[in-house]
Symmetry: C3
Subunit: 203 residues, 3 copies
Amino acid sequence: MNISLSTFSHIIEILGTIAFAISGVFAAMDKKLDVFGVTIIAFVTAIGGGTVRDILIGATPVAWMKDINTLLIILGTAIVTMLFRNRIVNLQKTLLLFDALGLGLFTIIGIKKGLAIDLKPGICITLGTITGCFGGVIRDLLLNHIPALFHADLYATPCIVGGLLYFLMIPYINEEWAQVAAIIVICMVRIIAYRKNWRLPTL
Amino acid sequence: MNISLSTFSHIIEILGTIAFAISGVFAAMDKKLDVFGVTIIAFVTAIGGGTVRDILIGATPVAWMKDINTLLIILGTAIVTMLFRNRIVNLQKTLLLFDALGLGLFTIIGIKKGLAIDLKPGICITLGTITGCFGGVIRDLLLNHIPALFHADLYATPCIVGGLLYFLMIPYINEEWAQVAAIIVICMVRIIAYRKNWRLPTL
Amino acid sequence: MNISLSTFSHIIEILGTIAFAISGVFAAMDKKLDVFGVTIIAFVTAIGGGTVRDILIGATPVAWMKDINTLLIILGTAIVTMLFRNRIVNLQKTLLLFDALGLGLFTIIGIKKGLAIDLKPGICITLGTITGCFGGVIRDLLLNHIPALFHADLYATPCIVGGLLYFLMIPYINEEWAQVAAIIVICMVRIIAYRKNWRLPTL
């Protein structure tokens, strides 16, 4: 059971990384960046959240520096997406699913990294949300937009909801199942919010 | 004496955090962010400077992660400010005072953190100025402005003046009184600069 | 031999820092920043790359905090450049050379810092490129541009080429000569790319 869960989470991590990188590629091509710029935006979108998390908690060298595979996966994704951009743009439904799964997993990874150094639940949920969402914030910042996270997409709310649920569940059920449930909730809330075009109010 | 000084500094820290968060809320509402975006901008304005300081010196997990109260104060401030925005906007004089007091205290906190790891005075003053001012820089960056710190507000100069004074005073007077004097100087220079609309020259 | 090489590298480091700071001053004056803002942009352009590198690997306090000379050199450069801006603008050829030499040296410094903590060659090249290029990225970000690195200048490619060459050479030649060769290659590729106005393709 343990093995298949960790294999599962490894597969989701790769799919999520790919989906995040692809979203970076398209955002960068919209702004007419050159192939290097597009590749960099793919990187920061995919690894930005985890990098900010690791810097805030002092887990250095940050995660992507210890594992050349992450870099290679993103590089491959960037190249393939640039080459087959006209086809990949049609995979929107699949990409939304991968992106939402990645969002869920990255949030939980952030929460667990916070727990491992004894941070309080509220801080852990913040750290998980940063892990899931701040790649997109840095992407938008580098492309000279106000981050979509702050005014358009309902992207952080699913992380916070899932994170709260995780902490409400762990006194009652097995920790691994709490993780799985939280990831599924984050993924579903994200997809429904996207489909229904839910927005938070502005003032 | 010691107790009352440290209680005082704790009260100023809270008032400063509230004033910084409120300035974030209004800047974010101007840009039509949603309630989540407004809350995030309140956070980064209030804790950004200290976070950059802690990252630069490697004091991780950064300060706000170790203390859930900071997060709760900012969250409360953001909610109250959004709800009562029409009244709070009239408190400008009080907020200016809190903001200037916070600027002074945060600068001194940064300087003392630098001294604690044996950095040279010039670096400590830089670190203090970053602590006081970089929350506003990150706020402006996320809202897609050129930071006001670089062309409009006279906001860093008071920190530098106060920091220099602190180091000129400590050979002669009690360290705690040097802190108090530096905070008062920073606060007064900031308020006078604001009232008189002082500007640094451009070329 | 060893002494003269390290003296050489120290001189290049200073010339590179000055050239980076000057590029920051002119970019900031274009945006009508005040004298404080111009000075800050000079700083972040000169030290931004090394600071991001040190933060990513956890080498804190970051390099410029341990050495007051870097700060003083940049401060002096900013003041002199602001005062004599009409003359310094005519030194473009010399500045291009210093800038390109600095780019080469900073890249190699980054690579060596990565090697010192056992990072893989691909990660070291990334770290070297960040060291050489990210000062300019932060400069552009603070000035509210999309970083030139991502769509205009061919600035990272020389670092990557030089970094690859370094790792291809070290099995065969003395490590110090591999460094020198890599710096010269980065410098020359950068200058030729600038002169010929080479661009990477956009999609």
